[in-house]
Amino acid sequence: EAAVTQSPRNKVAVTGGKVTLSCNQTNNHNNMYWYRQDTGHGLRLIHYSYGAGSTEKGDIPDGYKASRPSQENFSLILELATPSQTSVYFCASGESQSQNTLYFGAGTRLSVL
């Protein structure tokens, strides 16, 4: 079974502070993704990556940066957190070839006060 681990599971941050959300996958998947989930919007794509060293903008990248230092790790960085970034964040991985079934982590609940 594919394994995607997110940390922390819960985070409270102050407005203007820096927040880093981490994601680790042991599936050796090339593709990794960061989504946020808000009521009424479903899941929306923030950033994604094709592999180590690659980061690409998704549909709602403003206010977020991403880092993929290795095949296993993909981080989401909020340099200056704002209350509008309060949300639940999900990381996922998927194989780039053939069937790209996505496997999700358990999510990180972020509150920016």
Binding site: N31, Y33, H41, L45, Y50, F90, S96, L102, F104
Partner: protein, 110 residues
């Protein structure tokens, strides 16, 4: 959002009954995935579909690419089927990212 529309938005079922969820696409996609988010918030992949039909236990899903829709049928609903069901289409952009619908929340009662 509008690129992937799910209906209904909510559904109440009694144990043992059958129902169908639908997903309509306004983007060209060659594959569809269905996920279940359980009440604890975990997302589980149910189906990866190319055009055609797949079945897994009491769940069956069909993807019709020509008419741009997919359906998920729940047969003999059980309490553990409760949660929010999402469909997702592969985005036209690279990375094979998924565009999600806003979900159908299913509540199964005894």
């Amino acid at each position: 959002g509008d690129q992937v529309k799910q209906s209904p938005s909510a559904l109440s079922l009694q144990e043992g009954t059958n129902s169908a969820l639908r997903c309509n696409f306004s983007i060209a996609t060659t594959t569809v995935q269905w996920f279940l988010q359980n009440p604890r918030g975990s997302l589980m992949n149910l189906f990866y579909l190319v055009p055609g039909t797949k079945e897994n236990g009491r769940l069956k899903s069909t993807f019709n690419s020509k008419e741009s829709y997919s359906t998920l049928h729940i047969r003999d609903a059980q309490l553990e089927d409760s949660g929010t069901y999402f469909c997702a289409a592969e985005a036209p952009q690279g990375g094979r990212a998924l565009i999600f619908g806003t979900g159908t929340t299913v509540s199964v009662s005894p």
